[in-house]
Point group: C2
Chain length 358, copies 2
């Protein structure tokens, strides 16, 4: 079994900690390990690090090699440019086939947090067993805890039984991020799950599906396959990958494919999509404050706040529901619930050409 | 005419900018000049800097000499310990008498801000003319703009006429910081003024008053007078000053004295008593935000806030009514209206023995 960790994200939503050179998955904002280190730590009991591939952009490769000493450097697969998940997964499938002829591949985002890793591994194992059997495209669906409009949803039909103790459902439809009204209906129905972006299938199976629904992209991948291991590899990948369609695997393949399954799961999943989401999953004191960083933190009459410090002393007086993030060269102070607007700060920095802060 | 600038304050209320080594009057928080530099700049058109005395503690003398190059170093008078305003003013009076036999002394706090310096000088000039004439203890009373409980009040009686175009009233009573009920009654009556802590009198007059109401303190001052200019000066001041009663001139003398007058004034006075008071007097943008410091400041959906930066970028998102102060080693984030509780942070630092931040 192979794991493919997709590590192409920019993660501007964690500015000022996330920067172009350090996207979210390379940050130790959830624990003392970085998010991608935790991702590897979490899957390692199931999949040997020498079978873990990481797909990333050129400028993050060196840092990934530094952070993941257990993963062989040759397993860091470079995308010359980001081309969304269909191309990324296709490229990883080629590498797996070249290495093993064929194998189950567990596709994982690099930047999620999981509260219960044991449960997580049980679900992944069951999904892998389902994928081994045939042509199944297996997804992990998160039991929603509210009508979240920031996630895609998977609609399950009746149970097709259990596999390794885990219920498995055929997927009836895949929905992109809904509006609130739809999201409420989804959650109410009980048949909808958040699309976790984790996929389990055989490399051969997903390449066939790509051939069927994205033939041009598949043709490009075949050209790359020819070049793998040859002196022309770098040049070919550089040229061809750039020409591939930028399309998500969900939209390009999953929404159309026949044999799509979902394993409903509850293992404390979070996409850690914003500073707000980080507060949600952080350990908090009796007043709802979550603090991290090496410096002193003094809180007077302060509640439900997130403080990510460096070595500086940070003192809050009379503050409720705020996010404070200190870094070497920038400080963010944001109302909790408005952290999606941190993107506006990044936009302002781009507009002002203040590249040193990006 | 001499000026005596009292510069003994600690100013913990401006933490983290104010520190033990840098109390409020030594900070450039109101403008690009420090508050004591502005105090000297403001009085200079009336009083030659060689006639400006500054009374301060030993540990601030060097910084004062640096900040006030126009004031002769010998005019920086060192108090071995802080002994409140009666002793401070008495000591300054001795120095003035030694230098000039007798002169009008304009006693000024070092750490106030004045919006209209021309009006201020007109009032001080008039007060000096009143003080020259005889035994008057002249004070400056600020027209209150609300029932502030953080100031003492001067109760004026009927006008005794005008001097140099400025109304002058006999003081009927001097009140310490009132409760809200009393403060409201004071303001409603129209006869009460904030005690600005500025006093104008002849050196001989105030020493006589001290002799009358604080005879022990006066005796100590006389011992010091004997020693001034002699080799025993430092030793005598060190020994005697320490033994003087620590009492304010208001409580020790003014409340009891007969010939106390007040000149009502409106010249944009502020005691700059807290970060909140600084926001009050700061220039603000259309959304009520006041920013300073050398770094970039980015405000998204942010209102009525005070941002005092250093060279770091500071970004606020969705914040209303906050005070943000960055320094080399500490950051304060405080709800506007609660800046009096910054003192609690200082207390916490003292309790934790984190002296490097004090």
């Amino acid at each position: 079994m192979h794991a493919v960790i997709m590590a192409g994200g920019r993660g501007t939503r964690f500015w000022p900690r996330s920067r172009e050179k350090k996207p979210k998955h390379l940050l130790d904002i959830v624990s003392s390990r970085t998010i991608i280190q935790e991702t590897v730590d979490r899957i390692k009991p199931l999949i040997d690090p020498k079978n873990i591939l990481v797909v990333t952009g050129r400028k993050h490769a060196r840092e990934l090699i530094r952070q993941l000493p257990e993963v062989p450097a040759k397993n860091i697969i470079i995308e010359p440019v980001g081309r969304n998940t269909a191309a990324c997964i296709g490229l990883a499938a080629l590498h797996i086939q070249r290495k093993t002829k064929d194998d189950v591949m567990v596709v994982l985002p690099s930047d999620h947090a999981i509260g219960n890793p044991d449960k997580y591994r049980a679900v992944i194992s069951a999904a892998a067993r389902a994928a081994e059997r045939g042509n199944a495209l297996v997804t992990i669906g998160i039991q929603p805890d509210g009508p979240h409009t920031g996630f895609g949803y998977l609609e399950g039909s009746n149970s097709t039984g259990k596999i390794a103790g885990q219920e498995i459902l055929r997927v009836k439809s895949i929905r992109e991020k809904p509006d609130v009204r739809k999201a409420k209906a989804f959650v109410k129905s009980g048949n909808f799950f958040w699309n976790s972006g984790m996929f389990i299938w055989k490399a051969s199976v997903i390449l066939n599906e790509i051939k069927c629904y994205l033939p041009d992209l598949h043709a490009g991948l075949m050209t790359i396959r020819e070049a793998l291991g040859k002196t022309s590899e770098a040049k070919t990948v550089e040229k061809i990958y750039r020409q591939l369609a930028s399309i998500s695997i969900d939209y390009g393949v999953m929404e159309k494919a026949k044999d799509v399954f979902v394993l409903p799961a509850e293992f404390g999943w979070s996409d850690v999509g914003s500073w707000d989401a980080l507060w949600d999953i952080s350990a908090k004191d009796a007043k709802g404050n979550a603090s991290s960083g090496g410096g002193e933190i003094i809180l007077e009459d302060t509640e439900n706040s997130l403080i990510c410090g460096t070595n500086k002393l940070i003192a809050l007086v009379g503050m409720k529901d705020v996010i404070v993030v200190d870094t070497k060269d920038a400080i963010l102070i944001c109302k909790r619930g408005q952290s999606q607007d941190v993107k506006k700060v990044v936009d302002a920095l781009e507009a002002k050409k203040l590249k040193q802060y990006l």
